[in-house]
């Protein structure tokens, strides 16, 4: 048999789709995906139900207020293996010597992680369905709240994946990603803002961090049904930034 001319390359999206398919199958073959999904769905539903039966109001504000505290713990657990596992098993060399761009690999893995997150989020849909049956909730408000959760989750996943590309192992990736993700949330906590402002009142440090760095004003706007351009730019832009940095980190790590 004689060799052919240099082989063809897959298209950008086809390559990313192939990697997403492999990654999603790897998630579904591993126990962590099931543990993660069940734990997330149970916790989210339980906390909501508890509040719902106490207050008796037909809205999901309590559920959405819980999300920024849950996601920084759950999503780094999804993202931690994405690159750290490839490095541990040395399959990263196999993958990145295929004729694909690092960004294709990044987007493929990201799409798989996002799909798992969406699957988990779908497990909370019985809540709005139940509310619709029980009363007359503001469906638009619920939809914008879900969009906020989705955008925040997408940002935390991109961050977690970037950290996974830099970290030496999965545990380190999880801890660092969880800490950094929590910072985005904690800086929007009233107590943090009050303490930081009180310490240097002339600087209004807490308020500045809240306005410029924290994810919370953008998320809270979504929960209130206000999806502004600044929130989309902030959440979408940070996700894109972390994905781009991830691809760059893969290139740099080769050298």
């Amino acid at each position: 048999m004689s060799a052919a001319t240099p082989g063809a390359r897959c298209g950008f999206l086809a390559g990313a789709r192939a990697i997403a398919g492999r990654e999603l199958a790897a998630y579904l073959d591993s126990r962590i995906a099931y543990v993660y999904t069940i734990a997330f769905v149970l916790l989210a539903n339980l906390v909501f139900m508890n509040g719902f039966f106490l207050t008796g109001t037909v809205d999901m504000t309590a559920f959405f207020e819980l999300m920024p505290w849950l996601l920084p713990v759950f999503l780094p657990a999804v993202a931690m293996r994405l690159w750290a596992e490839e490095r541990r098993t040395r399959t990263i060399e196999l993958l990145l010597t295929m004729p694909i761009r690092p960004l294709q690999a990044v987007l493929g893995k990201y799409a798989a992680a996002l799909a798992l997150f969406l699957l988990s989020l779908a497990g909370t849909l019985p809540i709005p369905v139940m509310l619709v049956f029980l009363g007359d909730p503001d469906v638009g408000l619920i939809a914008s709240g879900y969009l906020g959760v989705l955008l925040c989750g997408a940002m935390f996943l991109a961050l977690g994946m970037f950290v996974s590309a830099l970290a030496s192992d999965q545990i380190v990736a999880f801890v660092v990603a969880a800490l950094v993700s929590s910072l985005f949330v904690l800086t929007g906590w009233d107590a943090f803002v009050a303490v930081a402002d009180g310490r240097w009142p002339w600087l209004a440090l807490g308020t500045r961090i809240y306005e410029w760095f924290s994810l919370m004003p953008h998320f809270e706007a979504c929960v209130r049904g206000v999806i502004g351009l600044s929130s989309l730019v902030y959440l979408g832009g940070l996700s894109l930034l972390f994905l781009w940095a991830n691809a760059l980190a893969l290139e740099r790590k080769r050298a």
């Binding site: 001319t5 060399e93 196999l94």
Partner: protein, 244 residues
């Protein structure tokens, strides 16, 4: 097919490959010999664009490895030293995945898959999980993935590592059969293995290329000095100041 010109690779202060130059044409099977840590794998990783050279140029199938890495990767079939595979995949799914990343689909993929499955002897494990396969089969799976796109350049890093004697013999025959129109470079630290397949030998030690010559010439030179090839290679390494 492969042209390496004054290539150097440094990791911090460590020089892993030092000003190495050679060229390999189509139809050649070249053995790359050197002890562990001599710089073989580093050089092979640069050829398949996994590592960039610190200095020098690498051209594979007419494409520059630094400027056109995707074109080079398309032209290369690479079997890495540790042959890491996705353990959680079945063999058929793994080959399909590799095929899709190589732009193979439909009838073209099916034809190439059938070819590699037949020639790499994967029929018995085709539907099995990779983690259930023996070391020998895993090497064959890695080789099948490297050959799936019918590459004009084949780079094999310690391909017979972990294979038994029968598997090594079968592997040699198989590689010889792939020679036509293809440049094949494979590394080993075992001289007998290299000389049994290749007509030409590259010997590297401490990152420096000590010899680039046909096996027959090296053998003749050794015989003229009353030495066998093994001893001549050891002499070469000692003369260069290296530890054999």
């Amino acid at each position: 097919m492969i042209r390496v010109e004054n290539v150097t690779k440094r990791f911090g202060n460590v020089v892993a490959v030092d000003s190495v130059s050679f060229a390999i044409g189509a139809g050649e099977i070249v053995g790359f010999l050197g002890k562990n840590g001599a710089g073989k794998s580093t050089l092979l990783k640069m050829l398949c664009t996994w590592l960039p050279p610190t200095r020098g140029t690498i051209t594979v199938a007419g494409r520059d490895a630094v400027r056109e890495p995707l074109a080079v990767r398309s032209a290369v079939g690479y079997l890495p030293e540790h042959n890491a595979l996705y353990e959680g995949m079945k063999v058929d799914r793994f080959l399909r995945f590799a095929g899709r990343l190589r732009g193979l689909d439909g009838a073209r993929y099916a034809a190439r898959r059938d070819w590699v499955v037949e020639h790499c002897g994967l029929e018995a494990v085709f539907s099995r999980w990779i983690h259930e396969c023996s070391k020998g089969y895993r090497q064959r799976i890695g080789l099948a993935a490297a050959l799936l796109h019918d590459p004009p350049v084949l780079i094999l890093d310690e391909p017979t590592h972990g294979l038994d004697a029968l598997q090594v013999a079968a592997f040699r025959d198989f590689i010889r059969g792939l020679r036509s129109g293809r440049a094949i470079l494979f590394s080993s630290h075992v001289l007998a293995e290299v000389t049994s397949i290749s007509q030409r030998l590259l010997i590297i030690n401490d990152g420096v290329l000590l010899a680039d010559a046909p096996v027959a010439d090296l053998r003749a030179q050794a015989a003229a000095r009353g030495r066998d090839l093994d001893e001549a290679v050891l002499d070469l390494v000692r003369t260069a100041g290296g530890r054999p």
